[in-house]
Subunit: 332 residues, 2 copies
Amino acid sequence: MRDVARLAGVSQSTVSRVLSRSTSPIQISQDTVQKVLDAVDKLGYRPNLTARSLRGQKTNMIAIMIADISNPMYHSIVRTVQAIARERDYDVLIANTDHVYENELHFCEAIIRRPVDGVLMVPNHLSNDEIEQLIHITDIPVVVLAWPSYYPRVDAVYGDDLKATYDAVRWLVESKGHRRVGFIGVSRTLPPGERRRTGFDRAMTDAGLAVPPDYIQEGDFSIDSGQRAMRALLQLAQPPTAVFVCNDLMAIGAIDAAKDLNCRVPEDVAVIGFDNIPEATIIRPRLTTIAQYPVEMGQQMAHAVFDRIEGLSNGTRQVFEIPCRLIEREST
Amino acid sequence: MRDVARLAGVSQSTVSRVLSRSTSPIQISQDTVQKVLDAVDKLGYRPNLTARSLRGQKTNMIAIMIADISNPMYHSIVRTVQAIARERDYDVLIANTDHVYENELHFCEAIIRRPVDGVLMVPNHLSNDEIEQLIHITDIPVVVLAWPSYYPRVDAVYGDDLKATYDAVRWLVESKGHRRVGFIGVSRTLPPGERRRTGFDRAMTDAGLAVPPDYIQEGDFSIDSGQRAMRALLQLAQPPTAVFVCNDLMAIGAIDAAKDLNCRVPEDVAVIGFDNIPEATIIRPRLTTIAQYPVEMGQQMAHAVFDRIEGLSNGTRQVFEIPCRLIEREST
DNA sequence: AATTTTTATGCAACCGTATGCAGTCAACTC
DNA sequence: GAGTTGACTGCATACGGTTGCATAAAAATT
């Protein structure tokens, strides 16, 4: 910048003003602007955003923490967020936690040490206190993709998966006539695990159906774990005739395991997944699943955080529900 | 930091020295260290890495540019790189180009404006000149995941996909007895597209087999495009009996399309993919494919860049070949 | 006891940019 | 023609750290 100033025959501050003219109300003569721009061009100068961040206390970056880089759900969210960020000349820092608590903490620590202007996150273990503390220390707007009751004081975007699970299970029972329904979930310590399990339990109770303990299996979101869980279910003396699986990847594994055991889907056992990832229409039978709408989620999250960054919203927290929808295909 | 200094009763420089003791050879009395650490603890102070970067001309960040966030190949690479970076207390900036040239340029621009200590990239369009220029401007070590001849002056990690393609096609012909072999590729303007096509062409020529123009289809890496391409092949008057597909996602689409057209795989048409993504063992028939080894790729890339960052290597460029391997499953 | 060396600390400059404040100059006002 | 105004521009400082250099105190040497 000093070099540009020298070449243009003006002071360094003037160069700065020319280059950030949009954000500065001060006027500069047309003549000077031209001289500076010429010099910038000639030297191929680009401002150093790190320095700009330091001085301006504004980084033009936001961070997004996702739970699983392998889950296509998050790809759409990330892509959407990036597109919206790009429009505003923001860069996006992506962090992947693989659902591990330590990684979530590491992310918070990283944000504290290298501040950004806004944070989007899909927490799985972080307590409300930990998020509050992050906000308190950094004073950065945070938007979570999570059931709002877990984080009662930050903007939240969430899919109503409890209700969606409830409705889907009742549909299995009432429209499809299943009475023995199994469940492949994930740890109840994870918010979605807890909610979907609750939805399942309530639906079964309300339908007046008992669920043997064996019918409840637990996986870890992966295809492999879905296979294992399904194998366990099908090897029971009296296996379920339908299985609700907490995400599509595990459902894909479950269908695979069923085939291996010469068990027809959906004739012998119906399978329903959750997420509606692209692969759901690829496998055979095509997977019945509960669709989430990641693009909408990404949009809401991004807009919520940018509204706060730009001061458009600063009052009470906002909560956006993105409804889920059952998509019936061939696996039920 | 000033507050810490005040509380500890020392100067701000001393605090800095205590906190970056590892990198500074200067000695500090045990007593002072303790006072400072106590103050840090009491105030919950964390150094601002942005400021540190500015002064130190070292960001403790590396950036990685991948071509497709939906491709599981890159998930492994990213995970591996992140693990290695974490060991060294580096953060990783992830950028996704979706194979689009503008995004690659944008990435370079972002790196210029917000420098990092090292860059890993999977370029698809960037010219050698453009990469040279990036290095020239920023003076940052760059490691590419790409056939080295495209970027003759930077460290490169690459899978020998040309040879792997050649071998696989000859195997289809000689061991499996196919004589009509189709090809579903991607644009030859993309390095892997070009190489795999070359490998295919050479293998067919060397086997003395002609390839009708109709047998060459082009997709865009996606499942959808694989479906479309396969449909086109199977609707020919004389369809191929085997199809070499340039990546697994398209191969999955291709198998799907075949099933839709009541065409059995592998009896009526054999399919071979490339990448060996996890889904390859999930679909039925299980996909024969050429495995790449993304973990090894990530390791080599990360080590290459850190070796340069730490000054362990600074001479001539390094090139690492990660061989591919044919994995025969059920689709051939 | 005087001198040299070592150890520990502080002062001040610097990284690259943004901005409050003061100053210059031309154009206006009266 | 003196005073006022407004449009530009530069000086100096700040952002939050790191580090070269000087110096004071302590230890070692002569």
